[in-house]
Amino acid sequence: MAITYTSGEQVEVYRFSLPATILIPLAAIFLQAWLPRQWHFFSIFDLPLLVTISFAMARRSQMAGLFTGALIGLFQDALTAGPIGLYGIAKTVVGFGASSLGIKIDAENAGARLLLTLVFFVVHEVVYFTVGRGLVSLPMQWSWSHELWSAVANALLGIALYTLLDRLKQRA
């Protein structure tokens, strides 16, 4: 589990093709809406979040990271029954954070990715919960055990997903 601290010049910067940039987040949002209907347990996963983290860490650009996160989050919000902006704000923060860390560290190995996804999942949930309770007054309940189990499950799924997405990224 080596997280190597490298300078901005040493880390690789990647980009995704335009079809991949549009279709991958759309597919993630679609699967997130469709799979829980087939398998109810799937609702603990957050595929759009994993895509946000993956894109942000690969591109290593804070601007790209925050805008990718904001768009994916707003799109995800639009499918829920609640107000638009909750996922948007949470994923903007995660996109910015992941890209900021992506500049500093080389997170190409599985261990580093597992740890980062764990941390960013919890950050995402904390921001979502804070905005939901504080701003919209949603009657939400926080459960550490549930959040940690979800974080572990998402991190494990994230490793598999990042490996798939690695094949689509191109060196900038």
Binding site: F30, L79, V136
Partner: protein, 417 residues
């Protein structure tokens, strides 16, 4: 200054984007109705995702149908036989229930009740979910073009699913009863306690606003009360799972929805609810005295009184031909429950609705003065029915005024029909 802006450019953009989203959220929370911008985002998202979902559901359903309807037909013959037997059993049950329903309708007509009927439904297929643990909503493949409107009830054969929250061109969003922002007017089937069925953040369903001193048995059915003006009265919502004292004055009641909300495939959208007054059967128009006369073998058929000589032969009078001398006639004293030939005056005022030709009514058949008129307080003008079904029908009524025994009973002619 420029260097500072350039140095913190990303951070400033981050704060700006977050600020815009917070502003958007605040506007949505403040306004009751949806803003055009948020509506537009929703339309885009649904338009992008719904066709894919529809296509996948179609492929899945078609392949499933192909397999189940053409290839996998093992045990169909036995199942068919079993279902036929079940139909026979249900037919018998239906006869019994239709009699109960007739009786309930007569009582409702007597009280001037207005019934709600689900007169039109639209079948729809579930194509997707919100994909969030915090928002329990589903998408169906019928929208504005199928006549779907917001706040229409969505049900299955098992029970209530939710209500239409947003309508798009060919899809609609359904808010499930397990969502924390959902609320359904509910009533407990036997104890008739009313409350509000709400979803919890964990996805469970609870019945709120039931006072802590009430007795709620586990396993009791929870039905819609009709008070929310969205769900018609009497639809099944769920069954009481646990009852614990709450922190405040109310009970903490957990309810298990009868509809399987996590495995919904097809649903019915209630597109039209009719409200009309219950119409009683034709027998209602008969006079109670006529019906009693049919039932009581000891009561002679009514004769038209001879107005000319004034000798209408009512049972109270002496038989024709016999001469009664002054001081010799002693009216027979009738004890309660004793069979006599004289119909009680109260029987003349019996409501027509509670009595039908051929209806088994032992006390009425006895022809005594103890016909069930004022034995115990009854709701409004409804007399106590000896049958269990009658009592359940009166229970379903929304607490009409209960006259005391001393109060005069209303004659059938006085009842508003």
């Amino acid at each position: 200054m420029e260097s500072v802006l350039g140095r913190y450019r990303n951070l400033i953009v981050l704060v700006g984007v977050l600020f815009l989203q917070v502003l958007g959220l605040a506007m949505q929370v403040r306004r009751d109705t949806e803003t055009d911008s948020s509506r537009l985002i929703r339309v885009w998202a649904v338009t992008a995702v719904a066709p894919l979902e529809k296509a996948l559901v179609w492929v899945q359903t078609s392949s499933g149908n192909l397999w189940h309807n053409y290839f996998y037909l093992r045990g169909v013959r036995a199942e068919n036989r079993e279902l036929r037997q079940q139909i026979e059993r249900m037919r018998i049950e239906q006869v019994r229930m239709s009699q109960d329903a007739d009786q309930a309708r007569r009582l409702q007509a007597l009280l001037g009740f207005k019934e709600q009927f689900i007169s039109q439904t639209r079948a729809a297929q579930v194509i997707g979910a919100s994909g969030s643990e915090q928002s329990r909503a589903i998408y169906i493949d019928k929208g504005e073009d199928a006549g779907i409107k917001t706040d229409m009830a969505v049900i299955t054969a098992e029970g209530v699913v939710g209500k239409i929250l947003r309508v798009y061109g060919s899809t609609s969003q359904v808010l499930l009863i397990s969502d924390q922002s959902s609320g359904v007017g509910a009533i407990l089937e036997k104890s008739r306690l009313q409350g509000i069925l709400r979803g919890t953040p964990s996805g469970e369903v609870g019945l709120e606003k039931v006072m802590g001193d009430e007795q709620v048995p586990v396993g009791e059915m929870v039905l819609t009360s009709g008070g929310d003006r969205i769900f018609p009265k009497g639809l099944t919502l769920g069954r009481v799972m646990t009852v614990t004292p709450g922190n405040d004055l109310f009970l903490n009641i957990r309810v298990k929805p009868t509809a399987n909300l996590s495995k919904l495939e097809e649903v019915l959208v209630v597109t039209k609810i009719d409200e009309k007054q219950a119409t009683p059967d034709q027998t209602v128009s008969m006079r109670a005295a006529d019906i009693l006369a049919e039932r009581l073998p000891s009561v002679p058929p009514p004769k038209v009184p001879d107005s000319a000589n004034g000798t209408g032969s009512t049972p109270a009078q002496a038989p024709a031909g016999s001469e009664i001398k002054p001081g010799q006639f002693k009216p027979k004293t009738m004890l309660p429950g004793q069979v006599g030939t004289r119909p009680a005056p109260a029987a003349q005022k019996l409501p027509t609705t509670g009595l039908t030709a051929g209806h088994s009514d032992s006390s009425a058949r006895a022809g005594s003065t103890t016909v069930p008129v004022t034995r115990k307080p009854a709701p409004a003008t409804v007399r106590e029915e000896p049958s269990a079904s009658g009592s359940s029908a009166t229970k379903a009524s929304p607490e009409p005024s209960k006259p005391s025994e001393a109060q005069p009973q209303q004659s059938p002619q006085d009842n508003p029909q």
